[in-house]
Amino acid sequence: MPKVTIYDTPMIDELENGEWPSFITAFKRLRDDHPDERINSMVGGLLGQLEHSYETRMGWWKGGTVSVFGYGGGIIPRFSEVAEHFPESKEFHTVRIQPPAGNFYTADILNQLADDWEKHGSGLQTFHGQTGNIMFIGSTTEQMQPFFDKLNSYGFDLGGAGPCVRTAMACVGGARCEHSCANEQGLMRHLVNEFQDDLHRPALPYKWKIKVSGCPNDCTNAIERADMAVIGIWRDEMKVDQEEVKTFVADKGRDYVIDNVTDRCPSNAIKLNDDNTLEVNNKECVRCMHCINVMTKALAPGDDTGVTILIGGKRTLKIGDMMGTVVAPFMKVDTMEEIEELVELTGEMIDFFAENALEHERTGEMIERIGLVNYLEGIGLELDPNMVSEPRQCSYVRMDGWDEEVKKWYDKKAEAATA
């Protein structure tokens, strides 16, 4: 039997009860059953410290500075403040690793990752953290470099931490979802892999997160939490298979369809006809996805697909939660040239953020401070009524450049008409 200190853990032992999988049971397996004494001991210390937190209702980790050669961030250092009581886990750093786009793995690559982490770390990992990293949780400073080198040798790279471009996220997208309006995983990799220098060497005012969702259901929560939300959308007519509509109505009944499909349309753009077909007013449809979600066989997004870009989403710190808002209502991203344009635009936005945000200010807060117009002009984006819920409502504004702005609008319209 390995000589491992077994700390008394009456409080967290309570979390072994109940049917939902228990992380405490998982920790104890590593402490008691793993063949490597280093892991038994380290996870034993972790259990001791966690019990101490439960007893004192306080956290006992502090940060520090640890990275790998050539990079500035990506590792979350944790040093115990109660190491004299639980010395086995006195260093318990997390390695953030960028996942494959769309979070796809083979069982074999997961086994490979587990084998390597077991050699260098605690044997604990999470797929994935809230930003989207694989988190390998718990090891010492000296194990960081060899573990990273090993993963780096077969195609994995460190994630972001600190004031930098962060690890990006894409939904399952075209790989399995019929709502997909963009090559989510391709876009995500084009966008984040172009800026790996800004990801690995934190030098921005604060974080810059990119999330790609393939349709307005926004399964990556991009609008709520990403500085840059890229959301798949279509601009032509949604597809309606009237035979499938009739089958759906026959199965569920007219009342169900009226209550759950047509009445829920936010812009009253859809109507159930007397002959049990659906009529869609595509000019008034706001592409919310609800009817398509309910009738996945009968309804589908159109073919002229692209992406909407919303900028400035973030969570509470410091001026409160903010949603991203539209800065580009529609961009085509079918060809490499079009994708390059989106990557260039992203570069412009990161540069503008780097030059104009205050320290520890997110893009959304910067736009709140300087106004959206200054942001759009700084980036070179064109105005569109889709950028607002409503125009200005207060007359206290200086407008002595009105005629020039009107001319710009008509010039742009004329240019679009001849294009």
């Binding site: 998982a26 209702r57 069982a107 999470t126 780096n152 790279d157 894409a170 399995r176 939490r225 001026i319």
Partner: protein, 358 residues
């Protein structure tokens, strides 16, 4: 002998997901036609080509030990097609190309102590933070709160019986890394930081900390001849923003750090625009190891939602229909002066109409 110089990293960034993708998904990329849910926890996607892919969704403890991970990969290799992905709520998904593989896999998954479910109108796996296990600024644990709560909500993970999907999140500080949710259980500090004055000068860049405060309540000071910071306790909103960059601003407190419950956050654009969650209850004791008071309140809200909401109504859609008057009436939760917002933009949250619920 000189130590070997470490090699420069290969800045390969996010790996290509296609190399790890099920061949049926690769072959039909972007060419899917529709999906069905044959049973809770299982999705069936059908491509225009006629190809089918079955997905089995599995709830886990989120933090996985290598034994559990290897059991999951063993099931994938021996009974499935060897392919796995994870949802953003850390549910594991197996993809297989035939219906015949589904039932034996479910049997093996459940035998391994994992939970099949989380699809459609279920209470799916909560997204949560690290808490006492690994964070440097946590006011609470996350895994423990979630484990305790899911022990009681597990039936709703396994059955598709809610009006629409329910996303629960938890966060261990007021930055709220757990994200928006239909229900969020978040830390709420109730006292200003206690300042370890003798440590501030060495640990903190004082102008940065002064600038970090959302309400300008922090200013430089001298205590016992040492440079430090002081907090205007009348102005302080107890958010804890000063604590991460300056650990001597001790915000976490074994008694006064509490939990609050927020509802109605919705990421989707379906029906209405995305919404942020709103405060409904606070002052809930931060009570390890099983936080029974928090779970009880969440269950109380969920019970009313389940009984009262119509099909497809997310929490926010339901509340929009019954009104906040209806929400507080039906749940029996007290409405206090703290529910009325006074942050920037607060006026937009007031009722400037005669739209009144009776």
């Amino acid at each position: 002998m000189a130590a070997e110089r470490p090699k420069m990293p290969i800045e390969s960034g996010a790996p290509d997901g296609f190399q790890y993708m099920h061949p049926t998904m690769r072959r039909n990329f972007g060419l899917w036609k529709y999906h069905e849910r044959p049973r809770p926890g299982v999705l069936k996607h059908v491509a225009h080509s006629g190809d089918e892919i079955y997905t089995i969704r599995v709830g886990t403890a989120r933090i996985l030990d290598v034994f559990t991970l290897r059991e999951m990969t063993r099931i994938a290799n021996e009974l499935g097609d060897g392919f796995i992905r994870f949802t953003i709520r850390s549910n594991l998904e197996y993809m297989v190309d035939s219906e015949a593989k589904v039932a034996p896999m479910i049997e093996a998954i459940e035998k391994a102590g994992l939970i099949v479910g989380g699809t459609g109108p279920t209470i799916t796996a909560p997204s949560h933070t690290q808490g006492w296990l690994h964070c440097d600024i946590p006011g609470s644990d996350a895994s423990g709160v979630v484990k305790s709560m899911m022990d009681e909500l597990i039936v709703e993970f396994k059955r598709e019986e809610m009006p629409n999907r329910v996303h629960i999140t938890t966060s261990c500080c007021q930055i709220n890394c757990g994200g928006q949710g239909d229900i969020a259980i978040n830390i709420q500090h109730t006292k200003p930081p206690k300042i370890a004055h003798d440590l501030v000068a060495n640990a903190c860049e004082r102008p940065t900390i002064v600038a970090r405060c959302p309400v300008a309540a922090i200013r430089p000071a001298m205590v016992d001849g040492k440079p430090t910071l002081e907090v205007d306790e009348k102005k302080c909103i107890c958010c804890g923003a000063c604590y991460p960059p300056c650990p001597p601003m001790l915000i976490n407190d074994a008694v006064h750090t509490t939990l609050a419950i927020w509802v109605g956050g919705n990421h989707s654009n379906a029906r209405g625009k995305p919404t942020f969650q709103k405060l409904v209850a606070a002052g809930i004791p931060n009570n390890p190891p099983r936080w029974p008071e928090a779970t009880a309140l969440v269950k109380r809200i969920l019970k009313v939602y389940k009984e009262d909401a119509k099909d497809w109504e997310r929490m926010n859609d339901w509340i929009e229909r019954i009104g906040w008057f209806g929400f507080f009436e039906k749940t029996g939760l007290p409405f206090t002066k703290f529910h009325i917002d006074d942050w920037r933009g607060a006026r937009n949250s007031l009722n400037a109409s005669t739209h009144i619920h009776f």
